[in-house]
């Protein structure tokens, strides 16, 4: 593993969309799912996200991401169906357990929300190279130093992981026991993490110096090796999403009254 990423390299129109627009799409998705509790609208937005994922040829990569939350989503139905404080109308029962309509409806709403947000995030994550995303944000005013930190994490973590095996072998050969009673295993944790921490902290010293020797703290305005042109299509998409966000907020405010 050279770099941590869920990015799938494909040549589709979705991949070419400005990363900022995909971030705006996430924001819009969160806003809509939090402000609107309408099954039809939430289903519609979910279908739309799936459509975009399909155009980006990454639809089958979404399911592993959803599966992270699958168990919680299932237990939500059970717990809300049984115990939601608003439960009144019994829907069905399994043995002595009675499931109520209000709880089940509420749990389905939660699931729709989570799926909407997961799919919107997946659109960004699966179709955008992390380094492109970060460089794009730096061009738009994110501090270059924070941009550096974000980009370097993606490659430095796999580098640190490669030292894990070395540490494990070294400590085991010195007689460290990593099996047995809980207290024994707990005690084994410090000899394992300790050297990893020391290694990584000591390397921060040299890395910081090396960065300083390459203008990391320069006050000059940063330039970019790679060119970047925003298309009129990207602008159009951006205005559309912003309009959608404003419309949702206004609609919600009017609707509440």
């Amino acid at each position: 593993m050279r770099m941590m990423s869920l990015y799938k390299d494909k040549d589709t129109i979705i991949h070419k969309i400005d990363p900022l627009n995909k971030i705006l799409y996430i924001l819009a998705s969160i806003l809509i799912t939090m402000l609107i509790s309408d099954f039809k609208i939430l289903t519609l937005t979910l279908v739309f996200s799936f459509l975009l994922l399909a155009i980006g040829k990454v639809i089958k990569n979404v399911f592993p991401i959803i599966s992270f939350s699958l168990i919680v989503l299932v237990t939500i139905v059970v717990i809300q169906g049984l115990f939601n404080p608003n439960n009144k109308i019994p829907l069905f029962n399994i043995g002595q357990f009675v499931f109520y309509k209000e709880g089940i409806i509420y749990s389905f709403l939660l699931i729709l929300r989570v799926l909407n947000i997961l799919c919107a995030f997946s659109l960004l994550i699966l179709t955008t190279k992390p380094s492109d995303l970060i460089e794009n944000l730096v061009r738009r005013g994110l501090s270059p130093k924070l941009g550096y930190v974000l980009a370097s994490v993606l490659q430095i973590i796999p580098q640190m992981l490669s030292t894990m095996d070395t540490i494990l072998d070294a400590q085991r050969s010195r007689g460290l026991e990593t099996e047995g009673k809980l207290i024994k295993r707990l005690k084994a944790f410090i000899p394992l993490i300790g050297p990893a921490v020391m290694n990584s902290l000591i390397s921060t010293r040299e890395r910081a110096m090396a960065l300083e020797m390459r203008g990391f703290n320069s006050n000059i305005k940063k330039t970019f090796l790679n060119e970047h042109n925003e298309t009129s299509m990207d602008k159009l998409i951006r205005y559309l999403i912003i309009a959608l966000i404003i419309f949702t907020i206004v609609w919600r405010l009017v609707w509440l009254k």
């Binding site: 939350s69 939500i76 717990i79 939660l110 947000i117 993606l154 993490i193 902290l201």
Partner: protein, 199 residues
Amino acid sequence: MSKKLWSFKFSTASLVLIPAAVGINYIGKLFAGLLKLPLWLDSIGTMLASMLAGPIIGALSGAINNIIYGLTMDPISFVYAITSIAIGITVGILMYRGLIKNIYLAILSGIIVALVAAIVSTPINIAFWGGQTGNIWGDALFASLMAKKFPMWLASFLDEFVVDLPDKVASLVISFLIYKGLPKSLINLYSSDDEIERL
């Protein structure tokens, strides 16, 4: 530890501490899994960053930790960035106030961190999961409290707190023990208030 507690002028050393902290979080999580410990131990890097370079760097480490997890594994991790930020800030302040001096105070501080983490996480858990955490033991408690007609926010808070308490106490104690073993020159590297004295 920086005297300028809330400074946003970061030294290069404290900035490169952030990727290291995120890596330590991740390695902590993997070692905990390897040893089959019933804890996550995935905030040790954030806590050490707070102890070494103050609450802002700690908070940044926490936020970036969750952003990276969100980008590379589970998008839900993004929303819990707020919890990680709270952990970073809390540990930074406790350290600055001199409250993490010995192992007993580290345990006490761990309890405070767990409280803060649970308070911050509860609204997120309610909005996303109807109050659950996804942890079997915590959710079992949540279900039984809900059955006894406890208010949802309280049941959800306790669900998160019983899960966080052992994890955050253990994490902070481990961070404290590692911190104690670091060479002075390394601890001094991340403080930004040294002045050059003329000889």
